[in-house]
Symmetry: C2
Subunit: 522 residues, 2 copies
């Protein structure tokens, strides 16, 4: 791809990039406000934080809708060199156009209101969740759903589609609710069958050893050791604790992971950390720093070429490190002795195979982020159904806990004990993030498909993992996914890299291939 190394440029294009970089810098400040709110901000700072977020959202919106920006994009689009098919400049312009056209549809007041209300509502959610009391949160959520609908109406959607599409499109460009449904419906059926088969076998592993009491500081040291070994650069990132684990690609050279430690279940934080690290490796791999890749000499921070493709692709990275690496037998061959030494707490009585089996235990549980690989997507599908109904107006916020509990029991087979372990468990809706959840399952699908391809490219991948070597895996991801930024759309990248359109088969092959033998079914 020499066109990345020697891109066409013009004065207008340079000015465009400079404007984008400034907007990117402003956005990076908002991300710091968000990170701090989730990690260190005292409760008393909440009102001021909402005011700060609202102010910055307004300033960002002014930049995103600046008529000068529109003029420069148009001027560059008219330049045949810049817009030559297949060039990086054309990809950048395509995405800048998309972002600009979306931004000018949103009124400034709505953008500010969403930022302020989201920041406030998140504080309300925190308390409601801690006290497992949905009533406290109902008003805030009603406001956020209303704002999300307003936003969707401004953004619009294609003919034959629905309001939800307008929201989904922000996170998974080009995808519609109908398309998601078409993938999810058969997947749900096959997963339900698989989960029943596994659990009815009565011969699965049990996860008793994951309940060894491990002090938080040991878990933290262990997590740091592993992410560093996997290639996460701690000079350019950190790991903190929070209520709801997340990764923030805060700024060039500054990627922050968070996790939460439960002393009575060390695997929660461990796999949470692996998951966020997968996101973090993607963020660190995006060409945001000059000279990061030989054939991408410039920093593309603030431009589409320096951004992730979609949340689905982002999630494919986190799930790969969490599950395809982190829950593999080879990985535990390397890691078990370290777990024995660093975590202790009786784990030293269990060998690699026992630990690997335990961390692959399938169960009907309440918390999405702690769910096993097989049931996880059922949790996501539940949320997709509910948020779609909320946006359609088929479900009112007041009826949310009831609807959640009913559908949950139907899908997962166990009753929900309380709202904390039910509809209050996720932070997303409190921020107004709707249309976001389906990208989790899309991510699992992209992940499995990329993983099969990577296994062909790195035939001794299992041996490498068993030695604790992850360099080739990371290089493959850097080369095939990370360094391209938003150059390709998700579906296009999938086809380019794997030669096939997105399909659920690789994920099902992975789950059946790993879990059935563990449950004595193969």
């Amino acid at each position: 791809m020499p066109e990345i190394a020697t891109p066409a440029s013009t004065k207008a294009y340079d000015r465009l990039r400079a404007l984008q970089r400034e907007a990117g810098t402003l956005a990076s400040v908002s991300r710091l406000l968000g990170w701090d709110q989730e990690t260190y901000m005292p409760n008393g700072g909440a009102a001021a934080r909402a005011e700060q977020q609202s102010l910055l959202a307004g300033l960002s919106h002014d930049r995103a809708t600046d008529p000068r920006l529109g003029e420069l994009i148009a001027e560059c689009e008219a330049d045949a060199n810049l817009n030559a098919p297949g060039t990086s400049t054309a990809a950048n312009l395509r995405e800048m156009r998309r972002d600009y056209d979306k931004a000018i549809r949103l009124p400034r007041a709505l953008v500010q209101e969403l930022a302020r209300a989201g920041s406030e509502s998140q504080q309300v959610w925190k308390k409601a969740r801690a006290e497992s009391d949905f009533k406290q949160f109902e008003g805030s959520l009603t406001r956020m759903v209303g704002l999300a609908r307003q936003k969707a109406e401004c953004l619009g959607f294609s003919e034959g589609g629905e309001l939800y599409d307008a929201l989904l499109d922000k996170y998974e460009p080009g995808m519609t609710a109908h398309e998601v449904e078409a993938v999810f419906t058969p997947l749900e059926k096959r997963l339900s069958v698989l989960v029943s088969e596994l659990l009815d076998s009565g011969r699965g592993p049990d996860d008793a050893l994951t309940r060894a009491e491990v002090p938080a500081d040991r878990q933290h040291a262990f997590g740091l050791m592993v992410i560093e070994r996997c290639g996460f650069d701690l000079e350019r990132g950190r790991l903190d604790t929070t209520t709801h684990p997340f990764c923030e690609g805060l700024a060039p050279g500054d990627t922050r992971l968070t996790t939460r430690y439960r002393e009575e279940r060390w695997t929660d934080a461990f796999f949470g950390t692996m998951h966020e690290m997968g996101h973090g490796l993607y963020e660190q791999g995006l060409p945001k720093l000059a000279g990061q890749y030989e054939d991408v000499p410039a920093s593309h921070f603030g431009e589409p070429l320096g951004e992730s493709i979609s949340l689905g692709i982002h999630e494919s990275q986190s799930r790969m490190w969490e599950n395809f690496v982190g829950r593999s037998a080879s990985f535990w061959q390397w890691l078990a002795p370290h777990a024995h030494a660093m975590l202790g707490s009786g784990l030293e009585r269990h060998d690699a195979d026992a630990i690997c089996r335990a961390v692959n235990t399938v169960s009907r549980s309440y918390i999405r982020v702690e769910a096993d690989e097989a049931t996880y997507n059922l949790h996501v599908m539940l949320r997709f159904g509910i948020e779609r109904a909320l946006i359609r107006g088929d479900l009112s916020v007041r009826d949310l806990p009831g609807a959640w509990n009913e559908r949950f029991e139907k899908m997962l087979g166990v009753p929900v004990p309380d709202d904390r372990r039910g509809c209050l468990q996720d932070v997303h809706w409190s921020f107004g993030l709707m249309g976001y959840f389906p990208t989790y399952t899309l991510g699992n699908l992209y992940c499995a498909q990329l993983w099969e391809m990577m296994n062909k490219a790195i035939p001794d991948i299992e041996t490498q993992m068993a030695r604790g070597e992850f360099g080739e895996i990371l290089t493959w991801l850097r080369t095939n996914v990370h360094k391209h930024g938003k150059r390709y759309r998700a579906g296009e990248l999938c086809e380019r890299v794997t030669g096939e359109p997105l399909s659920a088969e690789p994920l099902l092959r992975h789950l059946e291939g790993k879990l059935k033998p563990m449950y004595g079914l193969a």
Copy 2:
């Protein structure tokens, strides 16, 4: 002061306040960037942080110099009600005018350059300090001194004054280098005599017990207990660790203290924490939240009425809690049993009196922030002399270490072992903060004078401290200092509260009264 409770208002004044609040919100975001840079930011984020700070500095400068702001101030100044002598509105307008007139003298490019260079230079300083290598820092410091001089030239100074005045005036409004010199010269003489008398007596306490090894987590828990007891609201603040302790009044309801733990000397962190808490109590006491005081119903965040008077007054608050409370015999009567229980490490073998004597040990030491009360001001005077010479051009940055070491030995009587314990110890100059140091000693003077007055107002203050009761002390400070914001200038407040202009006598009385008996001289 009924004029605070029922202020005059007009449309123009309301708009002015709204603009100021927005500018205050933007400034609060910059403070978060600064706090994060000092506490949690990974090294790799430094370049992006400089870019963020520079962008925000530019945006803040645009607001501070907005011609609309100037017009609104002028319109309000012409309103006899708003500008009636002695009203809070007049005080607000007086200070807004001062800020505006200063801001419009500074070119935007210089403001941005100062922010960017300061952020970059601070990273260079960090490394140079860690490696005790001034050469690494020389280039950055040369740049910062140059920028500080440029800034001073833009701001200007009164006839008969000098360039340094322009910088000092930002931190201690109205004060000149000449006035500082007039106070410092005789003070230096009397302090030098006192220090020599004490140290020549050969009968002072020793500080061996401060070198008991105390784990950082115990020190942290102890510090938190004490600051909460003193009245610092941890729902509206926090305490973190950093290289150079500071307090950031980040935003309304969000005041952050930092400290640093040395396991081999628990008193460093403890008195550092008490010091920053003093700043923090002032920040929490400024009327930045609506309803904070019965007679100040509105939030004055972003306005002069919600800001501290000067750095000297700020420092008077930190030094009061650190030294006048924290190093008093009564305070240790209350705290010693807690120190025994919470810190352990052999401290339980020392009673309140022994601890109090140990923490009042006078010695010729290298580090300003760890210096005892008697020698502390000598450290400050050294810096005042050096930075004044740098700004005058009488001293070049290259010659700084030599000049520092020579003057230090002359003033403190011991040779400087290395730059880390010499001219690299403070963060201030790396940010371009020049004209700032003298406010530390001015703070000690204000503090002693306020303390004498408070002792008259609270006759049983010693009994209260001995019971660990600090409510009346804090209320006195809130009522007499905190709640007025910038309503009075420092000298005016001093005269209003104490009935006298600023004088060095109270500080000398305090030091001689406490230290001479401990050294067998009285």
